[in-house]
Structure formats: structure tokens, C-alpha cells
């Protein structure tokens, strides 16, 4: 049976209001139960304010539950002494590539994490090279980050997490600021790390078509998980997805409106189904 890596046990989180004048705030997470297994590729969908980012930040103890518990590799994020260990297991990549690069040379940036952990210099060298190769940025290792494209910067940020040898990467809308090609670069990198290195991936996104290749999709609404299943299971429920302020991929929508029975996820599948509707290949 697959190994549990991250477990949310009835987790509630309430952001503290600064003054008493405010009405008590609604929980950002409301009784969330979730288990993420080793090697899984999990996509988290939800409208703005649904609790996605809060959930992401709980995975490596940036936020601690107000109620309930988050267990990462057997350690509760509530115990302060676990914080460092947990953050070595679970790395985060955020939306804005410009906010997470600290060094003036690509390879120095990737080395920043392991240096802080006090890793041996020769070992740092090895990890940095490996990480940069994994994200296909090795040839640009001596470049200055500000001269890179958005997609390249995000891949440097991912390499920085890899160099820490984390088992889980949590990405909070990693492609929101990228152009279509940059998005594709980053996505294929993430999938490669998941398949080839067995890294567990939790990716928050607003782009439905980025979720179709995940193993599992959860949809958040008002701090709760309202849908949970394979992409095909989740997107077959168009009405429920739309009622959460989201959409299904355009291929899915087109085929369902044309009366195709099967839930279609990709353009390729849509083309196959439409050819059938048209009575086979012309």
C-alpha cells in the first residue's frame, strides 16, 4: 500500500483579525481531511479565496492549524522543533518568480538552500548540478536570473527546492505569471520530476487544463474539499465544478455539449470523439 506522506486531520484555520472591531472571520479552512501519498501528483483547484493557498502553506508548516493536525512524514506541524525537518521534506514554489530568487547567478541561487543547511561544498556542487540538469537549466547556470524568462526563473526556483532534496514540492500557482510556452516548460518539468524522480507534487492552479494530467484533483470551496477524484471523475461533474466558480477544460465542455457520453479531457480526445460523431475519418 502506498505510504502516507502528508495527512490533514480535521484541519481548520482562521486568519486572525488585527482589531476587535471586525466580525469573527470565517475559517479559511474548515474541517479538511486529506491524505497525500508518496509519489502522488495532486492538483488543487478552487476560486480565489477558497482556501487553496492556505492549504498549500500548511503542508510545510508556514501556517499551523487553528484546530486539527497536519502530519508530514509522521511529524506534526504543530511542534515547533519539527519545523526545520518538515521544510526539508516539503519545498514550496510560489507564483511570482521575481520574489523567490535571492542570488545574482543562477547556480548560486540553487545553492542557497543547501548552503543554509550546512551541506559539504562538494556535495552542494553535486546537488546543484543535478538539480539544474533535472529542470533543464544546466546550460544557463552562470546566467544572471534577471535576464531569464519567467518560465526559466520558475525552473530555477524549482531547482532550488530540489537541491534541498525535498520529497514533496508544493507549487502555488507556479504558472500564473507565465506565457503559454513558459507554462508548458514549467509543467513538463514538474511532471518529469514526479515520474522520473518520484517526487510527490501538490500543485495549486487556476488553469483547468493543467489539472488533466494529475493523478488526482481536489476542488476547494469555502474552506472545504468539495470534489475529490481523478481528473476525469471531477470534470465529468461539470455543474458542480462550475458552481465552485471554476470551469471544465474547453475540450470537456465542447464534447459534453455535443452529446459525447465519455468525459473528454484533452484536445486530442476531443478530436477523436468529434471524428466519430462525423461518421469516421473522411
Amino acid at each position: 500500500m502506498s505510504e502516507k506522506l502528508i495527512e490533514f486531520r480535521n484541519v481548520t484555520y482562521i486568519y486572525e483579525t488585527d482589531e476587535e472591531d471586525e466580525a469573527p472571520s470565517v475559517p479559511a479552512l474548515d474541517g479538511v481531511n486529506l491524505t497525500v501519498s508518496k509519489g502522488e501528483f495532486l492538483c488543487v483547484l478552487g476560486h480565489n479565496g477558497s482556501g487553496k493557498s492556505t492549504l498549500a502553506k500548511m503542508c510545510n508548516a508556514i501556517l499551523e492549524p487553528t484546530d486539527g493536525e497536519v502530519i508530514v512524514a509522521g511529524m506534526s506541524t504543530k511542534e515547533e522543533e519539527n519545523g526545520d525537518l518538515i521544510r526539508r521534506k516539503v519545498g514550496m514554489v510560489f507564483q511570482n518568480p521575481d520574489n523567490q530568487i535571492v542570488a545574482t547567478i543562477v547556480e548560486d541561487d540553487v545553492a542557497f538552500g543547501p548552503e543554509n543547511l550546512g551541506v559539504e561544498p562538494s556535495e552542494i556542487r553535486r546537488r546543484v548540478d543535478e538539480a539544474l540538469k533535472a529542470v533543464n537549466m544546466y546550460d544557463l547556470r552562470l546566467r544572471q536570473p534577471h535576464n531569464l524568462s519567467g518560465g526559466q526563473k520558475q525552473r530555477v526556483a524549482i531547482a532550488g527546492v530540489l537541491a534541498m532534496q525535498t520529497e514533496v514540492i508544493v507549487l502555488d500557482e507556479p504558472t500564473a505569471m507565465l506565457d503559454p510556452v513558459g507554462r508548458q516548460e514549467v509543467l513538463s518539468t514538474i511532471h518529469k520530476l514526479n515520474k522520473e524522480l518520484g517526487i510527490t507534487v501538490i500543485m495549486v492552479t487556476h488553469f483547468m487544463e493543467e489539472a488533466v494530467d494529475a493523478d488526482r484533483v481536489i476542488v476547494m470551496n469555502a474552506g472545504r474539499i468539495v470534489l475529490d477524484g481523478t481528473p476525469r471523475e471531477v470534470f465529468s461533474n461539470t455543474a458542480a465544478v462550475k458552481s465552485c466558480g471554476l470551469d471544465v477544460p474547453q475540450s470537456t465542455e465542447l464534447c459534453s455539449r455535443l452529446g459525447v457520453k465519455r468525459t473528454v479531457l484533452t484536445a486530442q480526445e476531443a478530436v477523436e470523439e468529434i471524428i466519430k460523431l462525423c461518421g469516421g475519418v473522411v
Binding site: 507564483q95 506565457d179 503559454p180 510556452v181 487556476h206 466558480g245 474547453q250 462525423c278
Partner: protein, 289 residues
Amino acid sequence: MMAPALEIKNLTHYYYKGTKNQIAAVENVSLTVEKGETLGIIGHTGSGKSTLISHFNGLLKPDEGEVIVDGKNIFENKETLRQSRFKVGLCFQYPEYQLFEETVYKDIAFGPKNMKLPSEEIDRRVQNAAKLAGVKQELLNKSPFDLSGGEKRRAAIAGVMSMEPEVLVLDEPAAGLDPAGRLDLIKMIRHYRDVTGCTVIIVSHSMEDIARIADRVCVLANAKVAMHGTVKEVYSKGDELRSMGLNVPEITRIMLMLREKGIDVPADIYSPDDAVSAVRNYIEGRRGV
């Protein structure tokens, strides 16, 4: 004839000018935007979009070429430059990071205040811009930092609308919003355009969003204008767009793939609604034969 709202003539802008690293961020770009028109500007990251639009109200000065707003070269003198700041309202990416006042009201009032308008006029403009941008009345006295992400975005856009510019330029206004939020924001901009009759220029990576709002599209690639035309004209060139680091909407891609398979649906389809009718028409057409 009426002067265009904005005219860019042979504009070139270099970075690292005069050094061996000199590189043209914008190269010999010419562009005319008519009054009341909505222009979409698309292009890969680093194609020069943001550099180009920073010239529209003189935040950047071109190394070569001219920027003409409402018939006047904005770099003619200090006054024309100052006027261009009011005539062309620029709203950058993630404008909510630039909110800074104590209240949302003051933030929206900042622009008109700088225009030295009387206080009743400032108030009228703040109320009007808040309404147009969909900022709820009860939020005006709150601190901008207590607003949700979507509300902050709207407040920041209202802060540009309150200057009542003749040309509103928005850089990736819907970035980071969820699908429903994106659609609402595009609808808001469409409504603003229809009510005010203003010229709107919208920069985006989202081919879907551009299709929803623009009359014409200008594609930048490697600092130059690579394509220019109506949405239908530009989107029918899927292969060329892909070679420029862009992509057509998924629905358009399906149509293009069907055509390759010999199914003769139109190539210029970019919404699921149009695609459904196109496929149905095709099937009915074949039955008819």
C-alpha cells in the same frame, strides 16, 4: 477626420544603450489605435509588450520614433507630456501591490487629486470609478489591505479610471484570478468601454481573454510587430502563433486538428459556443449531401 486616440510611429527602445550589450526591447513598432477601439496586445514573455506600453504616456522615452496622443507628440514639451499622463491611464500587472493609502477612497482619489481638480469633482470621479470598476460602496472607507485579492485588483483599476483617461491601458488585468473572476473582470472592462466610449488597450497572455474583448490584435514577437489584424484573422494562424511562443485557445486548436483530419470546420473559432455550432453545421452539411 478625427485624430486617432494613439499613434506610435517607428518606435525603437534600446536597453543598455551604447554598451556592447545593447539590445532593442522594441524595434521599429508602428501602431494606430482609433478612438473607441479595443486593441489586444499579445506576445511571449520578453517580447517587449510592457516596454512598449510604458511609452504610451511617456514613462519611457523612445530612442527613435514618436508617440502621438490625440494628435499631439507627447514629447513636444513638458505640458504635452503632463497631459499625456492624464489622457492615457496605465494600469500595470498586479496593480494591487501599488495600493498605499489609508483608505480605498483616498487611493482612488490619488490621481484626480494630482490633477488639481476641485474636491466635488474628485468625489464625483471616485464614486463613478468605484462603480464602474465594481468596488462596493462599503469598501471605500476600509483600508485597502483589508480587501480580498479580487477587490484590491478592482480598487487599483478604479484608481486609474478615476483620472478619466481617454485611453485606458491594462497590463494583464486578469492575471492570477480564477476562471469566474477572469470572466467578471473582462465583463467589467467591456462595460466600462461601452459606458464611457473610451479607447482600451489590453495586454494579455490569455488568448481566450483577448478573444472575449478585443476588436483588433497586435502580436509582438522579439521586439517587433509580428502580426496585426482582427481577432479572427490573427487566431486563424495557429502555427505562426505557436512559433512565436503563443498558443491559440484550446478550442481553436481542436478546430485546426479537425481540419488536418479532413473535417472542414472553420479555423477561426475561439469559443465553445461557436465550436458547438460549427461541428453541428458540419454534420448537418454532410447529411445533406
